[in-house]
């Protein structure tokens, strides 16, 4: 089947002069009659000329070259690739939602505003925090929003001398990059041998210069920070705020509230925990919540309810705006749908099942792919192979070989503190049968490493292309037609 596809043929290469996909009504007069020639474009853009059918076939075929969650298991650690219910695909783009203009009179968008208000309220209940903004467009954007909120709080409290943000070495790269973007210096601290925060290192790093400590909970090795309350006390005693990266909140939803940990500011990922699809990279949504003392500094506006009318409200202490308009609303609508389908009891079951699935994979692979930290994990486990048994094979080869078995690869080489790391997050929506098949695939690959390592090193063998030469792509970049 794939043989009749011309590999990698671009739409521009299929272009035939004169072909059309869409026509518009004829104008009475050309643009040159309304506008001076000096304003006008002189050359047509080099865009493909295709019929609608050509276009449909082109993009449909391209879609078939993708792995996707709908078709395959995606055990990507820290990415929470859970099923995205189909109902939300249509309910989030009902015509009157999709056609709402951000500057429409507020009486004309009460439905949308009500959903945004209720979503803020639901997120407050789940986290225990005092306020939420839905403005950030992604997790990293949420982090920046959160850290700038911290900064606005400190500025308002005369703490301009606080110029440092402490980040553990297990953090996602976005955490230190975020602190840097906010104009802070980054202080990295090492983790303890058990994979959690090294409290001595933290204490040593905390000072009157510390603005915030950024913690991912559960952390990126899949462990809950067991001393989170004590850590929060240390941070607060130093006059700093505790920021929680909530990218992994799927393991906690319904089980525990970040406000009870002592968290001051946090972000959530609607495209992870709240079942919005990842879309091959986005759009996401990264709402940021804050405890009462920090809440006034969140971006403006937030949605309020006054006398039965939902209103976009600006607070004057607000740090400002993080993007044009109000957020990735269509994604927020999906998050709202998700939360309305489950009550507190079910959310708890969801987190418990996510934890059960991760631990099951960890236990089943023991002896071949061992967990780096040999203890119960939360929603994900970090595995690695004993280098002595690798026969020259690397984790990246195992990842590529998994594609041949019909599975996407786990997150690899992260967290950085684990050599040859493979981070597996099954999520709660995968069945035991899928997990068993995945475990069997990894066991088979383990055997291949012992008996035929070249087979693994040469993987993948079944995709539309085989191993790609990334080095020459980066040395001689070809970034457009």
């Amino acid at each position: 089947m794939k043989e009749i596809l011309k590999q990698g043929e671009l739409s521009i290469e299929k272009s035939r002069p004169g072909r059309r996909g869409v026509r518009f009504a004829a104008v009475r007069r050309p643009a040159g009659d309304y506008l001076p020639g000096s304003c006008l474009r002189t050359q047509e853009p080099n865009l493909p000329e295709l019929s609608e059918f050509d276009t449909v076939r082109h993009f449909t075929r391209l879609s078939q070259l993708n792995y996707s969650l709908d078709a395959q298991f995606y055990p990507l650690g820290s990415c929470t690739m859970k099923y995205n219910p189909k109902a939300y695909d249509t309910l989030s783009v009902l015509p009157s939602f999709a056609s709402a203009h951000p500057f429409a009179p507020q009486i004309a968008v009460q439905g949308t505003l009500q959903i945004l208000y209720e979503l803020q309220e639901l997120l407050k209940k789940i986290t225990g925090l005092a306020a939420f903004t839905l403005q950030p467009a992604a997790g990293a954007h949420g982090e920046l929003t959160g850290i700038l909120t911290v900064r606005a709080y400190h500025d308002a409290h005369g703490n301009a001398n606080r110029t440092e943000v402490i980040v553990p070495d297990t953090a996602h790269g976005t955490n230190p990059a975020t602190a840097n973007m906010a104009g802070y210096s980054v202080i990295n601290i090492k983790s303890a041998a058990d994979g959690c925060v090294d409290k001595e290192a933290l204490q040593a790093a905390l000072s009157e210069k510390t603005a915030a400590v950024m913690l991912t909970v559960p952390n990126t090795v899949g462990l809950f920070e067991k001393d989170i309350r004590e850590i929060a006390d240390m941070v607060h005693k130093a006059g700093a705020l505790l920021y929680m990266d909530g990218a992994n909140f799927n393991a906690l939803i319904g089980l525990a509230k970040p406000a009870d940990f002592g968290v001051d500011v946090m972000h959530l990922n609607l495209h992870k925990t709240f079942a919005a699809p990842h879309g091959g990279g986005g759009p996401g949504s990264g709402p940021v919540g804050a405890a009462a003392h920090v809440a006034p500094y969140l971006p403006k506006p937030i949605v309020t309810l006054e006398n039965g009318v939902y209103t976009l409200h600006d607070t004057h202490e607000s740090l400002g705006k993080m993007k044009a308009f109000y957020g990735n609303i269509a994604v927020c609508l999906r998050g709202y749908c998700y939360l309305r389908q489950f009550d507190g009891e079910t959310l708890k079951t969801i987190a418990e099942n996510a934890i059960l699935n991760a631990n099951y994979v960890r236990a089943k692979l023991k002896g071949k792919f061992n967990a780096f930290f040999d203890c119960p994990c939360m929603h994900e486990c970090v595995l690695s192979i004993n280098p002595a048994e690798m026969n020259g094979v690397h984790t990246t080869d195992v990842a590529k070989r998994l594609l041949d078995y019909g599975f996407y690869a786990p997150t690899i080489y992260f967290p950085l503190i684990v050599p040859e790391a493979m981070m597996v997050e099954p999520t709660e929506t995968e069945s035991k049968a899928t997990l068993d098949a995945f475990v069997a695939a990894l066991e088979a690959i383990y055997e291949e490493i012992q008996t035929d390592p070249q087979l693994v090193k040469g993987a993948p063998h079944t995709q539309c292309v085989n191993r790609i030469d990334e080095v020459s792509a980066a040395r001689q970049p070809n970034l457009r037609w």
Binding site: G8, T55, N84, L122, A140, I329, F414, P477
Partner: protein, 440 residues
């Protein structure tokens, strides 16, 4: 049920783990566990659909003459039909390239189509929206020139101004507004005086927020003469007819790409478009796809130049961006593929014509004046005989979105309305709008 494990599955799994209950796996301290959650009752899918329909009915659809950075355009059916395919929608960021060639090729084609439309050398896979793309471009100019001052047009979108300010306030940068002439365009002579050896870049929206077209060539020239860089903020649809940022020498050109096949959705998700001259490719934030070869020499696509990004550089990265707006970019590239060069020109010309028809008719309504005297694309300023807020209210009662109240951007102005007509407004709609104004 959302979780597929049966009771039997669970028992088998717990057995494999050697524990009797999931609780035995939990490492959260017991005093933090199982907080009371007072959530509404769970809805079935059917109930949820009815609930969402009911909420949707609380939105009041308007014949929309509002623009101001978010535009209603025709979206061919093939756009959502293709982009909503699960193979695109439920894929992750294409880190395993061999299993992600579909997404990767669409991004490469998006970058290419945008470069062609903008006449620029390189484009990224996407940014959050126009405002954040513009801000990141200005920050790149600061890094490239090692200068600390950013000059923006005073008629830059007010939200874009605020985002720029929020992002840069702690980075030791100064933002200055270039003066405008009373006619509403950038004052070139004043800009000349404002430019200095500390100017990193000039941020030039064209059309500007009021819809006016700027003297782009002159502004580009004097900007470059001072050693500063030019960041153009453009409307992609307008480039079907208007001079391209590449043609007037922009170093970076950014845009809100929502207008290319994406619904307005109350302002988000948008599509941040980020392009640059080739020399600045390594200063671009976010993902970029390039062509590569596989080991058999076949053409393949891959995320490239990744060493710029946060997952490698961590605190040394120039941006923290990770997730982007891939599906919106996919909508845009499908839209551009369907329209092609001719369709894009047609839709742009229709915008010009409908907006000019509307302006012409409004200027004949007693008491209303079209303030815009210089060239504009699809948006212009109307001076009303009563506060603009009242016009908006009265027209909303007739199902018309009258425009953007310029009082929101400039508190000293009360009677000015920013009005937009795209190809979506028929000649009949335009007549209805003018009639409604006449009845005020």
């Amino acid at each position: 049920m959302f979780t597929p494990q049966t009771e039997q599955d669970k028992q088998e799994m717990l057995q494999a783990l050697g524990v009797s209950s999931v609780k035995d796996l939990l490492t959260i301290s017991p005093d933090l566990l199982y907080p009371a959650l007072d959530l509404p009752n769970a809805l079935t899918e059917q109930e949820l659909a009815a609930h969402m329909q009911e909420l949707a009915s609380k939105n009041k659809p308007l014949k929309n003459f509002i623009g101001a950075g978010c535009y209603e355009h025709f979206i061919p059916a093939a756009v959502p039909a293709l982009s909503s395919r699960g193979e695109f929608l439920t894929a992750y960021t294409p880190y395993q390239a061999e299993a992600s060639q579909g997404t990767l090729q669409t991004i490469y084609e998006f970058q290419s189509a945008i470069c062609a439309l903008f006449d620029m050398d390189v484009a990224t896979a996407s940014h959050y929206d126009g405002a954040t793309a513009m801000t990141e471009a200005a920050l790149a100019c600061h890094r490239i020139t090692n200068r600390t001052e950013i000059i923006i047009s005073s008629h830059l979108h007010p939200h874009y101004k605020e985002v720029l300010k929020t992002y840069t306030q702690h980075l030791g940068l100064t933002i200055k507004e270039a003066k405008s002439t009373p006619a509403g365009t950038l004052d070139v002579e004043a800009l000349k005086a404002q430019l200095s050896d500390q100017t990193a870049c000039v941020v030039l929206p064209n059309p500007n927020f009021l819809g006016y077209l700027e003297e782009v060539d002159t502004i580009s020239q004097i900007t470059h003469e001072s050693g500063a860089l030019l960041v153009a903020v453009v409307n992609p649809i307008s480039l079907g007819v208007l001079k391209t940022p590449g043609a007037y020498g922009a170093d970076f050109a950014v845009a809100e790409g929502q207008c290319l096949g994406n619904p307005m959705s109350f302002g988000g998700p948008g599509l941040g478009i980020m392009t640059a001259k080739k020399a600045y490719v390594r200063q671009l934030p976010g993902r970029i796809v390039g062509i590569a070869k596989d080991h058999d020499g076949r053409r393949a696509f891959v995320l490239t130049l990744q060493a710029r990004e946060q997952h490698i550089r961590r605190e040394k990265a120039s941006s923290n961006i990770c997730s982007n707006e891939a599906i919106c970019a996919l909508n845009a590239v499908i839209y551009l593929t369907l329209l092609g060069p001719k369709g894009l020109q047609e839709v742009a010309e229709l915008n010009v014509e409908r907006a000019h028809q509307l302006a012409d008719k409004i200027s004949q309504v007693k008491g209303f004046e079209v303030e815009t005297k210089s060239p504009f694309f699809n948006e212009f300023v109307v001076v009303c005989p009563i506060p603009a807020g009242q016009v908006i209210e009265k027209l909303a009662q007739k199902g018309i979105g009258a425009g953007y109240n310029l009082n929101r951007a400039d508190k000293t102005k009360h009677n000015r309305l920013l009005v937009c007509a795209t190809e979506m407004r028929s000649e009949k709609d335009i007549q209805a709008y003018v009639d409604a104004l006449g009845e005020i």
